[in-house]
């Protein structure tokens, strides 16, 4: 019996794969989804109510936990702990290499739902400051679409996933269709008053894909805190509890977990006709066939598949594949004590969200212009109140020492910079032919670093941040001036960018290969420039737009 030929294969079950499969299956197409991670089980894959005393070392890394021992890279991510290490990829089986002097942190998921289970849920729209950045400052390339092309998809995306936030009327951070915003703390109200009153810099509450009102069987957030351990009330957006359920309801959907795709295969007409993949439990190489192939494996995993599909990379006469890798400047920022609020009690409610200061540099207003760098940065942060940990820094011991601890809480304010990293052809990934993963597939070699524009931006964001906190009245202001290696922001995008010109881009504006018309890459690989906002909302909105285009094209017979 001949192998079944699906209408489409979607590689990857995360934020974008879920959307692509949802659109296609709801349009009546038979979709096979291949996911390298293990299956998601709603009866045990939420552990968000785990408390420190449920764990032998109270949440500190336990060397007896073999899962953690095999995830030394993944533990860079704050979200990877003893509780959910199995949500992350096994670094031993899945290595990658880096060029000398160019460290890279590649954080990957290992479960159906991918990083949509683990993401920080911050959901911001990009604007034409981003899509048309090259026209504004002459660096790089514009996107092949503009804000008005994507705006209707952002609208639909926000309505479906549920984004809480506040409308601010800023052209750099377009408003959306929001659920009621989460509340500021008192200290954050003070910060907002200082930023806006003294500096003319707007601040808003984080726009986050967490429900503040119930919708059907997705309930409003109950503020337990660690969303990245899963959510029994389905309050934050992730694909297994939303888009993948919709796919399954169509009866047109086949999901195969633990299927790690190796290559896209092609036929004599230079059309994609399927993929090869490894069944991870058995190590067997298998084949799957389809009329259309859509990669949503995550930016660099998709690019690795494309590089591995033909010598020099499939459909890569532009030589763009693997180049223009971007991320956000990450792990730099300022923090300081805010004594005015010392002694205040933290709420039991743990808000899974912070504050956001949108980009305020190099906008239309000449007062925002700077010659120090191109583009810009925003801040994410907020106020944190200690519960007991101030006692770690308190002198003494004994009864009086102990009894005073609950009333001696301390407030701390932080502003972490998220800055745009410019697209550079030499920030790239290639296949490392000398190293293979557990299944014998060549691994990626990362060759990415920050450039002078990024370093100038770091200087500025630290200086301004310190100025803001000082004006607010913060004390003991500390700066974190050592930006993390690329990849650490876990916003890696680019490497198969879109564009109008097939000599300088890999995909068109619908994330379709310029050279193989039934091959699509609907994840972050398609980014042309990264802007400074968190990428997932835009990635999903692009996937929605491209998938609807795909359905129309397929109906007209344009993809075969």
């Amino acid at each position: 019996m001949a192998a079944k030929i699906y209408d489409a294969i979607v590689v990857g079950s995360g934020a974008t794969g879920g959307w692509s499969a949802k659109v296609l299956t709801e349009a009546g197409m038979e979709v096979l989804m291949l996911e390298s991670g293990t299956s998601f089980d709603e009866t045990k894959d939420y552990r968000e109510h785990t408390l420190p005393h449920d764990l032998p070392l109270r949440g500190r890394p336990d060397p007896r936990n073999e899962l953690l021992e095999r995830r030394k890279v993944q533990q860079y991510c704050y979200a990877c702990t003893e509780v959910n290490a199995d949500f992350f990829i096994d670094d031993v089986d899945n290595p990658y290499t880096t060029a000398p002097g160019k460290p890279f942190n590649w954080i990957q998921a290992n479960k159906v739902g991918g990083r949509s289970l683990l993401w920080a849920r911050q959901s911001y729209r990009m604007s034409d400051y981003d899509f048309k950045a090259a026209s504004r400052d002459g660096y790089g390339e514009d996107w092949p679409l503009e804000y008005k092309d994507l705006a209707p998809y952002y609208d639909r995306m926000e309505r479906y996933i549920g984004v809480s936030g506040n409308k601010e009327g800023l052209d750099v951070l377009p408003d959306g269709d929001f659920l009621p915003p989460m509340a500021y703390s008192c200290g954050e109200q003070d910060l907002k008053a200082t930023l806006e009153g003294k500096f003319g810099v707007p601040m808003t509450i984080g726009r986050t894909a967490v429900l503040t009102e119930s919708r059907g069987d997705r309930l409003a957030c109950h503020y337990c805190g660690p969303c990245h351990y899963g959510c029994r009330t389905r309050s934050y957006f992730n694909s297994p509890q939303t888009t993948l359920r919709d796919c399954a309801a169509t009866g047109k959907f086949t999901l195969v977990p633990e299927a790690m795709v190796e290559k896209v295969t092609t036929n004599a007409e230079n059309l994609a006709d399927g993929v090869t993949y490894f069944d991870k439990p058995t190590g067997e190489r298998r084949e799957a066939k389809a009329k259309i192939v859509i990669l949503c494996a995550s930016t660099l995993a998709s690019t690795r598949i494309l590089l591995n599909s033909a010598s020099g990379g499939i459909a890569n006469s532009s030589d763009v594949l693997g180049r223009y890798v971007m991320d956000h400047i990450y792990a730099t920022g300022v923090g300081g004590k805010y004594p005015k609020r010392d002694g205040a009690k933290a709420e039991n409610a743990q808000r899974p969200n912070g504050i956001y200061v949108p980009r305020f540099q190099n906008l239309d207003d000449p007062k925002t212009h700077t010659k120090k760098f191109l583009r810009g940065y925003g801040y994410q942060g907020g106020e944190g109140l200690t519960s007991w940990d101030h006692a770690l820094r308190k002198k003494g011991f004994g009864a009086a020492f102990k009894d005073a601890i609950p009333d001696e809480t301390q407030s701390r304010m932080s502003l972490g910079g998220f800055g745009e990293i410019l697209p550079r052809a030499d920030n790239r990934v290639t296949l490392d032919e000398n190293v293979t993963d557990k299944w014998g597939v060549p691994v990626l070699r990362m060759q990415c670093s920050l450039g002078s524009n990024e370093l100038a931006m770091v200087d500025e964001l630290l200086q301004r941040g310190a100025e803001f906190l000082e004006e607010l009245g913060c004390k003991d202001i500390q700066i974190r001036d050592n930006p993390a290696p690329m990849g650490s922001g876990i916003h890696e995008v680019g490497s198969a960018r879109m564009g109008e010109d097939k000599r300088t881009s890999y995909l068109n504006e619908f994330q379709q290969s310029h050279e193989i018309k039934n091959l699509f890459v609907m994840d972050g690989a398609s980014y042309v420039s990264i802007g400074c906002v968190n990428p997932t909302l835009t990635m999903m909105s692009l996937a929605l737009r491209s998938s609807e285009y795909l359905v129309e094209q397929a109906k007209r017979g344009e993809l075969s």
């Binding site: 408390l51 509340a183 109200q189 109950h222 409610a349 011991f397």
Partner: protein, 195 residues
């Protein structure tokens, strides 16, 4: 993975001279608690440490209660802090284990120096006086340096163990025993009008 072998601190001086039950093998500068010295290493009922000897476990438990004694809220040992410290050290790297045991041995020696008695045999006020000597109230140099580093190490472990325990969470911090549905309130005062 296999557990690393339990390291033994080196350079012990007087402690190595104290055989089990030995009480008076060294010259005592002060002898206020001689009667108590006859007590063999106290053990905690029903607890078999993984990492410590029973005697070390008893010392750590006693010191934990000097740092966080019972007040209107439970003591460190009521929150089983000693068991947490033992558990954490049982899987720690060898140098971390050695550092802790070395500090403990130093303090045990120091107890002999100061009171002529084994640490676990001292009354709480004497244990407190010992900790006061090496506490972070002072900057330490010279001969007290090892003790001072041990104090900080022990105190951090006691605080962490206490406040991450179930009793610490519920009785000291007043939080619910299990996670429950919460409502986020946030600032209700308007900017600049916080209490």
């Amino acid at each position: 993975m296999t557990k690393p072998p339990k390291p033994q601190p080196t350079g012990l001086s007087r402690r190595s001279m104290l055989g089990a039950g030995a009480t008076a093998a060294v010259a005592f500068p002060v002898l206020p608690a001689l009667a108590a010295v006859k007590t063999p290493a106290a053990v905690i009922d029903g607890w078999t440490p993984k990492f410590f000897t029973a005697q070390q476990g008893a010392v750590v438990a006693a010191l934990s209660d000097v740092i966080l004694p019972k007040t209107s809220t439970p003591s460190a040992t009521e929150a089983l802090v000693h068991e947490y410290i033992d558990e954490a050290l049982s899987v720690a790297e060898a140098d971390e284990q050695l550092e802790f045991l070395g500090g403990l041995a130093w303090l045990e020696d120091h107890a002999i120096d100061r009171f002529g008695a084994r640490l676990e045999a001292l009354v709480p006020d004497q244990q407190s006086a010992l900790l006061m000597e090496i506490s972070d109230h002072h900057d330490h140099a010279g001969r007290l340096k090892t003790g001072a580093a041990f104090f900080v190490d022990l105190k951090q472990r006691v605080l962490f163990g206490y406040y991450t325990s179930k009793i610490g969470r519920t009785e000291a911090l007043g939080k619910p025993a299990a996670v429950k549905r919460e409502r986020l309130v946030g600032c209700t005062h308007g900017s600049g009008h916080h209490p």
